[in-house]
Symmetry: C2
């Protein structure tokens, strides 16, 4: 049943986000999901295939939750980016700065170890970047930011620097890296 598969993916995503892919135990996940090992292998050929589908769960979570602000066309492009930064900062504060971005975490953990993971994570980043680019396009069309800004470059820069702020947040357990990111973006880069 799709319900069992979905339950495995949700619980798996939680474990991978908390502990990383290699450190997440299949036994523990199956126990929490109350699903026997045989059923797991009915849905997934391997732990690797399970992990690759978990990346889809993470991307979907970004699109609907953390990065959902970026798709809210009722709000101006520039404010969508600001809301995205604030929503992600609020999420970190509410979660005591644990977790961070699972796509970034998995990239550092798996980027050199598994080419299937790497390709899928690279695609997930492109998808996330395209949401930022859409907001920057709208900001530029509406005259919120200068026409001279190369929004393709800036979209990548914002995503990468956001990932970097999350690396530092995970070590500092403080919002400061996110605050610095917002300050620099809105006073030096996203200007008119």
């Amino acid at each position: 049943m799709a319900e069992t598969k979905n339950k495995l993916l949700m619980i798996g995503a939680k474990h991978v986000h908390q502990k990383g892919f290699n450190n997440a135990g299949l036994q523990e996940i199956l126990k929490e999901a109350n699903v026997p090992k045989g059923s797991f292998y009915f849905y997934f050929k391997s732990k690797e295939e399970f992990g690759l589908e978990i990346i889809d769960v993470f991307l979907s979570f970004f699109e609907k939750e953390v990065g959902g602000d970026l798709s809210d066309k009722s709000i101006s492009g520039l404010n969508r980016i600001r809301n995205f930064l604030r929503t992600s900062m609020k999420g970190l504060e509410d979660g005591n700065y644990a977790g961070g971005c699972p796509i970034g975490n998995l990239s550092l953990e798996m980027g050199d170890l598994n080419e299937n993971f790497r390709v899928k994570l690279s695609q997930a980043f492109s998808n996330m970047e395209s949401k930022l680019l859409d907001s920057l396009k709208d900001a530029q069309s509406a005259g919120e930011i200068s026409q001279s800004i190369d929004i393709g470059t800036v979209a990548g820069f914002i995503l990468n620097s956001w990932e970097g702020a999350l690396v530092r947040v995970k070590a500092e357990k403080s919002s400061r890296p996110m605050e610095i990111l917002e300050e620099i973006l809105f006073t030096k880069i996203l200007i008119n």
Copy 2:
């Protein structure tokens, strides 16, 4: 002998950089070092203590190699920062974009799992940031960058965004995230 301890740390650092801390096998490290398990426990109380000392190895590598440019006082502050970015990009290219920054990697892997690691990684970041701050101070004193730049904030921003570029490099296996970082820093932020 200090030599044996040092050999264990060097080989351990290589394994942790390649595979992460949890995924690095003590057996494999001991085999490569040709050191019996008993000797390991003469030098280190546990794998955790070994890992904490490996963070010192990584920081020392940053100070002497990757970030060595930042301490070269014969060069202007602004050029030290540019050299640092270029040296790290060259290192990534030479290594086929594998590895990245071990301090950043360990922060994402261990930041939520082990408080001793987290504190030590946070200190390592502060140390790295202070090298950037020194370069920014010299750049500001020499009039290379505007007096109005808040160099404390910018030092943190550069380090965090550099870490973020490395996250993306690991997924993309391309220098593009590092090129974008240099472009934005030197055209939007480090200006006069």
